[in-house]
Symmetry: C2
Subunit: 389 residues, 2 copies
């Protein structure tokens, strides 16, 4: 096990009706003026926005609203949020939504006390130590951003999608009410599950040796998700299944399932270039690239892929070669993604090989390689994009 | 999944040489005067105490020492610590040790700002909201107390062993260096592993239904521990195995493996009465009572015991009845405990049935029943003690 620091100070407030107490929660922390950040039309249509705003106002809090978050959230809105917080002297930002909204809020929170351009954090990798406090009402379990200190933002001027992070960006609290996810469109529910699957894969496929407990918990995660996903898609108003998935999204990305090991993240780096260039849904890019990545790298450590096949998919091993078992695990991953409605090839979402070289170049900006399980250079990345065609 | 709050704000600083930076860590948090609490002779013999004291002094911190922690830690030392902290105006308490020392420090930390008798917290169950900050250098992975907000203390005047807890008692930081555990006696290493095994059992055996992810992670925990334990006892200076066990002890008891469900804790309640009356090593009491408890309750939900047998011990199920599989799981648990050197019967540690009734009465003070998987009343508790003879 490698040395690590682990600290997730976020207070998770999980269960029915928890969002109705957001005003009390924020007031109890001593804050006075809240930037409420969201996107889409879901919050207004369902009346959720009113419930939240009423809770805030009834607790005597002042409220400033910032609408307009889009998937693959944009730097432009971040700049607007920073200006708004400064002008209005906001002392906490509240994200209502999923990863895009939370990541936007984190970027705003980082930018308010920072003297330079907040995009610096995204290009330099400097850790964010100081930021406005952040609260979350989670409506889309997928990104795990409610439990992490990272933020992904797309700079719409140059199409670069980049991450920033640091201990200043952990949300103070995350209100998680599984009922708020009942009305998610099927595709978005599925995308969330695909997303969290890849989050654990990035941690599981590691060269760090003898990693018993995290491996076993990751395998338990895969096994659970594979069992729950089809059930939930058939029964979207099942509170229990929704709650399992909501918590799984959280732990998939706060390193509960990844401490003490070198993680990979090559799939994400390659996928981000697709989303950055074509504005593709994040989970679609991830699903496609995960399968292609697995096919490209499995021979590097076939025993790890055998273990994955055995414990994640309960694949029988008798009478099969190690390679057959490993490949069956990869095929099962592909089938799992297909079964929940994810694309598994770029052609399914209308992307050709036109820009593979440019995407590979962009993925490598400022880096010698991406990925760690296998270190991927330009040629490798292009070959993986080819496998994903 | 039941509603829950989950917040473990502790900063885990895990790895080699981390204890040498304890002075910097405390100074960085802004504190000035440290009560250093420990017990036994290990710290002096190994030179660890000097290393820690030097780190503190080199960072300009004032130090007050409180020696004398015993296993099943006593209220008397807690009172002395509270007086010392008040007289010396200490602003942080530092535990160097395992559960007994950490729990003593928590009791001291709770008592300093409290106007009444700190034992009130232990008898009333009132949550501890205010306490001195607590830091930990972990030398015995077992109790998980470095990551929890609970404290168990024995009142030597009446033999009662009771728990208190509350959000004020989470350690600010826990320094975990697996190397510090190399010199633990074999029996103590084994006790730690037995202890963490029971911590997860108390969470796993639940009537809460459809608990996918926590069940799967718990099963991964059992599987890992069963694999690691004999290896570590043969190879006690194996850094990697020591580090796995150190982190497993932490997550076994901070509800990473137990959120969203009714937990049991009957085994602990019965075991505490043995330790309280006979000063028996905590893990011995736990090992003995876990096996007896399993034998008494398994028919209540045989499918849960089947699942336990299958995923924890990889027991083959073909051609066996559900009951046979369940019983094989229990037998395997007994063998596991025996193999790592734990007693599995009270007679092995010289305890007869003389006080079963008194222990049952004590376990039920202030309670209708103990346990939740099966609610245990006086007759049940006595029968389980009988099974443990």
């Amino acid at each position: 096990m490698l040395d690590f620091n682990f600290c997730v100070p976020t207070n998770f407030i999980f269960g029915r009706d928890t969002h109705k107490k957001v005003g009390e929660t924020i007031k109890g922390l001593g804050y006075k003026k809240v930037l409420v950040n969201y996107g889409g039309t879901f919050l207004q249509e369902t009346g959720l926005l009113d419930v939240v705003l009423n809770s805030l106002k009834n607790s005597g809090l002042e409220v400033v609203e910032l609408d307009g978050v889009l998937p693959n959230p944009r730097l432009g809105l971040v700049y607007r949020g920073i200006e708004l917080c400064r002008a209005e002297k906001v002392d906490i930002v509240l994200a209502i939504g999923g990863g895009s909204t939370i990541d936007t809020c984190k970027a705003i929170a980082a930018g308010v006390p920072y003297k330079g351009d907040v995009w610096d954090y995204y290009m330099t990798g400097e850790p964010v130590l100081e930021a406005l406090p952040i609260g979350v009402i989670l409506t889309i379990p997928a990104s795990g951003s409610e439990s992490g200190c990272g933020s992904m933002i797309t700079n719409e001027e140059n199409g670069l999608k980049r991450g920033a992070g640091g201990p200043g960006l952990y949300p103070k609290f995350a209100i998680c009410n599984p009922e708020l996810t009942y009305s998610l469109p099927t595709v978005q529910t599925a995308c969330g599950m695909a997303d969290m699957f890849t989050h654990v894969c990035e941690r599981y496929f590691s060269n760090t040796q003898d990693t018993y407990i995290i491996d076993a918990m990751d395998e338990g995660f895969f096994r659970s998700l594979i069992e729950i996903a089809p059930k939930l898609l058939k029964d979207p108003n099942n509170y229990n299944l929704r709650s399992e998935i909501m918590w799984m999204g959280t732990i998939a990305h706060n390193d509960t399932l990844g401490i003490g090991r070198v993680q990979d993240w090559g799939t994400h780096d390659m996928g981000h270039e697709i989303s950055g260039m074509y504005d593709t849904t994040h989970a679609f890019s991830m699903s496609i690239m995960l399968i292609a990545w697995m096919k490209y790298v499995y021979t590097h450590d076939i025993e790890r892929f055998v273990r994955y096949a055995k414990y994640a998919f309960s694949i029988k091993t008798e009478g099969k070669t190690r390679e057959e078992i490993a490949l069956e695990g990869i095929q099962s991953t592909e089938m799992f993604m297909k079964d929940i409605g994810m694309p598994v090839r770029l052609s399914e979402i209308g992307i050709s090989d036109t820009n593979f070289e440019e995407m590979a170049d962009k993925a490598l900006i400022g880096k010698e390689h991406i990925g760690n399980f296998v270190e991927l250079k330009k040629d490798d990345i292009i070959k993986i994009y080819q496998l994903a065609k």
